[in-house]
Assembly symmetry: C2
Homo-oligomer: 254 residues x 2
Amino acid sequence: MFVNRADHTAPIARFLARLLHRSPLTESEQRAILSLKGEPARFAAHRDIVSPGQKVERACLIAEGMAGRFDQMANGQRQITAFHIAGDMSDLHSVVVPTASWSITALSDVSVQFYDHKDLRELVDNHPAIAKAFWRDSVAEGSCLAKWVGNLGRKNAPARVAHLFCEVGLRMEAAALGDRRSFAFPVTQEQLADAAGLTSVHTNRVLQELRGRNLLTFRARKAEILDWDGLAQEAEFDPGYLILRWPGEPEQPD
Amino acid sequence: MFVNRADHTAPIARFLARLLHRSPLTESEQRAILSLKGEPARFAAHRDIVSPGQKVERACLIAEGMAGRFDQMANGQRQITAFHIAGDMSDLHSVVVPTASWSITALSDVSVQFYDHKDLRELVDNHPAIAKAFWRDSVAEGSCLAKWVGNLGRKNAPARVAHLFCEVGLRMEAAALGDRRSFAFPVTQEQLADAAGLTSVHTNRVLQELRGRNLLTFRARKAEILDWDGLAQEAEFDPGYLILRWPGEPEQPD
DNA sequence: CGAGGGGTTGATCTCCTTCAACGGAGGTGG
DNA sequence: CCACCTCCGTTGAAGGAGATCAACCCCTCG
């Protein structure tokens, strides 16, 4: 595969690798993506990369660190609706919907690359396969969100927290950023709580319970899954919704 | 606009009208969509239109009635992650992700039209504007899901139920299927509960409370919003996330 | 050394669930 | 035309998961 010859640490190459998990692309299509020109930037933890209501003209690729999509309530409560890891184009959707009603906020210190909508649109208009790859990416994002609607609507706190760790672990492994059983997870317990729809106090107690049951540890922003199967069972975790294809697994037909 | 000359009651015309709320399309692009050949079918309430895990080769357009996307838990609990009304291509996303992990189920009796993925893919490959319109549609769906993650994670029962009615009301109005203050909502209280992440017992009490506060009535599958502003305030409803453009409002630039 | 962010603990409260029963409307068969 | 059944809605009482409130601790960094 062409991408294997590329430098995987280049942000755009990470993005391409992630696309290729889900969508086959020809060598020339891959080249077209790799030739995108990005503009680098850094953000400290807690800073907004994109603010709610802001009209954007470029999309943001996470190069290093972790970011999240936040929904803010009138009383100040927050809900994280997505975690973005290195290689994620966190608002690729802004190409077709340039004004979002939520923020993209740095969870840890992050470095990012910005890519002009104009260039991305040109790519889409000239390469139907890339258009479908981007579309598929948005559908996969929706699939994750739907799963979280189910988790928040119908699962208790331990299952939600367990699901969070399963999901992020598997995504980190797929992105070659760690192992599902041991990966950096640079968020605070409060941010975990904002994702799980819980208070930080209760999240803390749930983490202790999961630790006590020898399922996982979470210290110093590092997750260690002690019992993957047990954790997946607690979470009712079924990875199909992530729509990840693995090297060696049959490719998704176009 | 070309579509105004079309028969709005034809299912595919309803679908096109909905696309045009969000995406400008030329006359020839509109013609291409209208010339799609659909295969009709009917489903009784509670029947699966698409079952979880099923690989599909056609997408389903709701022509009449209401359907929902269901996520099912191991213990039998259900969560509705989306409502689909007439004119919604409820699994347009299946064109790029043909195997879903949830079901599309008829809420009321519904009639639908099926469209082959092959034809839809051809449309997308030949018309970049249609590709972007479909992509935008999936992004809008994701936007609704993200909003529901926020609602389920951080809002109490009355706010959730209120939000449900605001959302469906506005969508019905946009689809010319009713008025935001009075519309058919052919679901049971149990299905409302499955969407709001509540029990049907509590949903019943919440509906009584909202009635008591003169915000809405819901009887015989018909919603009457008595105080739209009050309901929207209770729900913290801000329609931006629906990504609906209205006739007369400025068009979204391509 | 002081300040502040993040983590931990305990006590209390409350929103929603659970369980159990009943009522009413509509459809169906005798 | 009545009897019955089933689905849906309604009500009450009790219980529990998680929120809230209020400390306190530890570590890092200026």
